[in-house]
């Protein structure tokens, strides 16, 4: 494509940029269909603050949700596998996101696609 070659006088390193033109929201759409409450997240971080897994690792459910929303699936499976399913996040979330159901959906969808 021609537009791609357009130079704006600066370049963004490919790895840094979220290329929404290229991103596939397939995972998000699937997860969203099965667990619509993913749309309610406001990235407040309460889940990540209270998270049992985050005490021992760099896991952040808030980040995970954002990645799914932005179509970033690389490394997601390793990330989501860190969750212990303990449910603290679900009790704490101010938006009533069904976090555990969401995690299971992400889990299952990634499992299916083998990403």
């Amino acid at each position: 494509m021609n537009e791609k070659k357009l130079a704006f006088g600066y370049t963004v390193s490919k790895d840094r940029q979220i290329d929404f033109d290229e991103a596939s929201l397939e995972l998000y759409n699937k997860v969203c269909a099965a667990e619509p409450s993913i749309r309610l997240c406001i990235s407040c971080g309460t889940c990540a603050a209270t998270c049992s897994a985050a005490k021992f690792s760099d896991f952040s459910l808030r980040k995970l949700i954002l990645q799914v929303r932005r179509g970033i699936t690389k490394g997601l499976q390793a990330e989501v596998s860190k969750c212990m399913l303990c449910g603290k996040c679900q009790l704490a979330c101010p938006r009533g996101v069904s976090t555990r159901a969401l995690i299971m959906q992400i889990n299952m969808n990634l499992q299916k696609t083998g990403k």
């Binding site: 005490k55 021992f56 009790l91 299971m104």
Partner: protein, 613 residues
């Protein structure tokens, strides 16, 4: 004359049924693992056969548990099962009077009145053997027909049976149920018409026959009678043929299941062929639908009757698997005693077992803490109810317990939520971590505030040498041993049984005993085994917040009905769930004890001072 063409539908159907049942059961039993098969082998020749047979009699025939749930429903099921059996047994005996005690072809007793017209005895002649049988056979038929009338009303007014919901039917069910409805009225018709022509009916068939004879022209009755016998036989035949694929497969399967259970065969954590048998033992009585709170949340499709059916039809899906709170209310009432929780977890396992969770990030070192007696584990949820933690710490301090707060700054999850989600391997890696920490402490007692943790510590951790207690049990023990002084608050309270502590672990007594020492405990309508779930359950993986709120509010309506000063619970999750409604003062049992402890403390100080003076 001991044969007529019309017996063929019945006889053919019966043979077909027996062959299909034989094939099906042999296949399932063959699929049971080696140890299960060995158990069956031993069981068949053990004394277990007697209690098992007794249970078959009580449950499959008399339907004792169903009676307990609902008298009308019990009567209805019993009239069919027990009545039919009596009809077969007694019919057999009766037929021997006429065949000189020889063994007859199986259809002979069933259609006896077609083949034998004994005009010698009168309808109410009870003092002769044939007369007695004639009376009793008609009586049993009437008994079954009364059940049929009830079944008819149940279809129209299921509420009379204490049931707000009954389950839907598939195509085989439709055929089978239509035939089942017809069998006994057709038998009545056939026997009555025959009696009106040849005589020899009992009190029922005779009088019905007489009435029919009055209405019908004499020329048509013989033809009609013959058609009725054909119809009766055909209804039986079609019922037998459709039975293995209809809900009525539960009739023979329940019997098989009861025997297998007595022999020690279980489904456990994985779907196996015993689960297949369990699935088919469900008569879709609908008792579970009524107690399952999922229907309040608009998810009737997730209730066990439907869930079990979709498993049986291989139509299960992840929503069905996940949408269950594992509260155990259904399992408690299921008259067939299907392990509905294990079935649900096992189907989740089938779906989720391949999800890999290595938890390799967990630290390798184990906290070292020698010289303590008691380990306290608040649990993940416990960190969101700091008043419970604080109460426990102050109580243990007051009682001079040498304890360690194992998860003071954050827990490794106990693994129960993963177990409930069917991810057993993942759960085990968490369990191993906690097990190491528990054993390294050298403690003899592990106390937890969370019933979810309590259940798995107790059942799956296999903590040899360590006694696992829920805090309600531990506090009661401290009080009874005289290590804690508490006084009565004068408050009136209602106690909510947390699912995992009550039905899940059968801890009902201790919390109540402890509570009675600090408050006035008001009994409520649905408690202990029948307690409601708070709606916060960690067992469910699909409910949304609104649905959970509906379940919570409905439960609160029941709990707050007697207007207690406090709603007491013994689970951080229940506490958070209930208090989120903002309509009740909710308190944990440990907090209540801690409050009364302070006062007791003052009391002791005062008395000490007094005695010094």
């Amino acid at each position: 004359m001991t044969f007529d063409l019309f017996v063929i539908p019945f006889f053919g159907g019966l043979i077909f049924l027996l062959v299909v049942l034989f094939i099906k059961y042999s296949r399932w039993i063959a699929l049971i693992d080696r140890s299960g098969r060995r158990k069956i082998g031993y069981g068949l020749f053990s004394l277990q056969i007697f209690p098992a047979t007794w249970e078959v009699f009580l449950e499959s025939l008399l339907h004792r548990r169903m009676w307990k749930q609902n008298k009308l429903l019990g009567y209805m099921h019993m009239s069919f099962a027990f009545g039919w059996l009596l009809l077969i047994l007694l019919g057999n005996l009766e037929s021997r009077i006429y065949s000189g005690g020889h063994l007859n072809p199986p259809y002979y007793p069933i259609f006896l009145k077609f083949f034998v017209h004994d005009k010698r005895v009168l309808p109410f002649e009870l003092n002769t053997l044939p007369g007695f049988f004639r009376f009793i056979m008609d009586f049993v038929l009437l008994y079954i027909l009364s059940g049929l009338v009830l079944a008819f009303f149940k279809r129209i007014h299921s509420r009379w049976f204490g049931m707000k919901n009954t389950s839907r039917h598939n195509r085989f069910d439709q055929w089978a149920i239509t035939c089942l409805w017809l069998i006994f009225p057709l038998r009545l018709l056939a026997e009555s018409l025959t009696a009106s022509i040849y005589g020899g009916g009992g009190f029922l068939t005779n009088s019905v026959g007489d009435t029919l004879a009055m209405i019908l022209p004499a020329a048509v009755t013989p033809g009609m009678a013959y058609v009725a016998w054909w119809a009766y036989s055909s209804a039986l035949g079609i019922f037998f043929i459709t039975l293995p694929w209809s809900r009525y497969m539960h009739i023979p399967t329940e019997v098989v299941m009861i025997y297998l259970k007595h022999f020690g065969v279980k489904s456990g954590k994985h779907l196996n062929s015993f689960s297949e048998i369990e699935m088919r033992a469900c008569p879709k009585c609908g008792v579970c639908i009524d107690v399952c709170q999922m229907k309040d949340a608009g998810a009737v499709g997730s209730t066990p009757a439907y869930f079990v059916r979709s498993l049986r039809m291989k139509e299960g899906n992840s929503l069905l698997n996940n949408n269950c709170m594992l509260c155990g209310r259904c399992k408690e009432v299921c008259p067939v005693q299907i392990d509905l929780l294990d079935l649900r977890i096992a189907s989740r396992n089938l779906e989720n077992q391949s999800i890999d969770k290595p938890f390799s990030y967990l630290p390798a070192d184990v906290p070292d803490s020698k010289g303590i007696n008691v380990l306290y584990f608040a649990g993940c949820m416990g960190h969101l109810t700091p008043s419970v933690k604080k109460a426990m710490v102050s109580i243990m301090d007051a009682a001079n317990v040498k304890y360690k707060f194992l998860d003071q700054d954050g827990s490794v999850c106990c693994g129960r939520p993963l177990m409930m989600a069917g991810m057993f391997e993942a759960a085990r890696s968490l369990m191993e971590k906690n097990r190491q920490a528990i054993h390294a402490s050298g403690a003899r007692i592990l106390v937890t505030s969370c019933p979810i943790c309590y259940k798995i510590f107790n059942e799956e951790y296999k903590l040899f040498g360590v006694e696992v207690l829920h805090h309600s049990q531990y506090l009661l023990r401290l009080v009874e041993a005289g290590s804690l002084w508490i006084n009565h608050s004068g408050l009136s309270v209602v106690y909510h049984d947390p699912c995992e502590l009550g039905r899940g672990s059968e801890v009902y007594k201790e919390p109540r005993k402890l509570l009675k020492r600090v408050a006035k405990l008001i009994p409520i309508e649905q408690e202990r085994e029948n307690a409601l779930c708070c709606g916060g359950s960690i067992g469910d993986l699909a409910l949304n917040q609104d649905q959970r709120n509906i379940i919570r509010d409905a439960a609160l309506d029941v709990l707050l009905e007697p207007k207690p000063d406090f709603l007491v619970t013994a689970c951080p999750l229940c506490k958070k769930t209930f208090s989120s409604a903002g309509t009740a003062k909710v308190i944990d049992i440990a907090e209540l004890v801690a409050q009364q402890l302070e006062k007791a403390d003052n009391l002791i100080e005062e008395t000490v001072e007094e005695s010094i003076l």
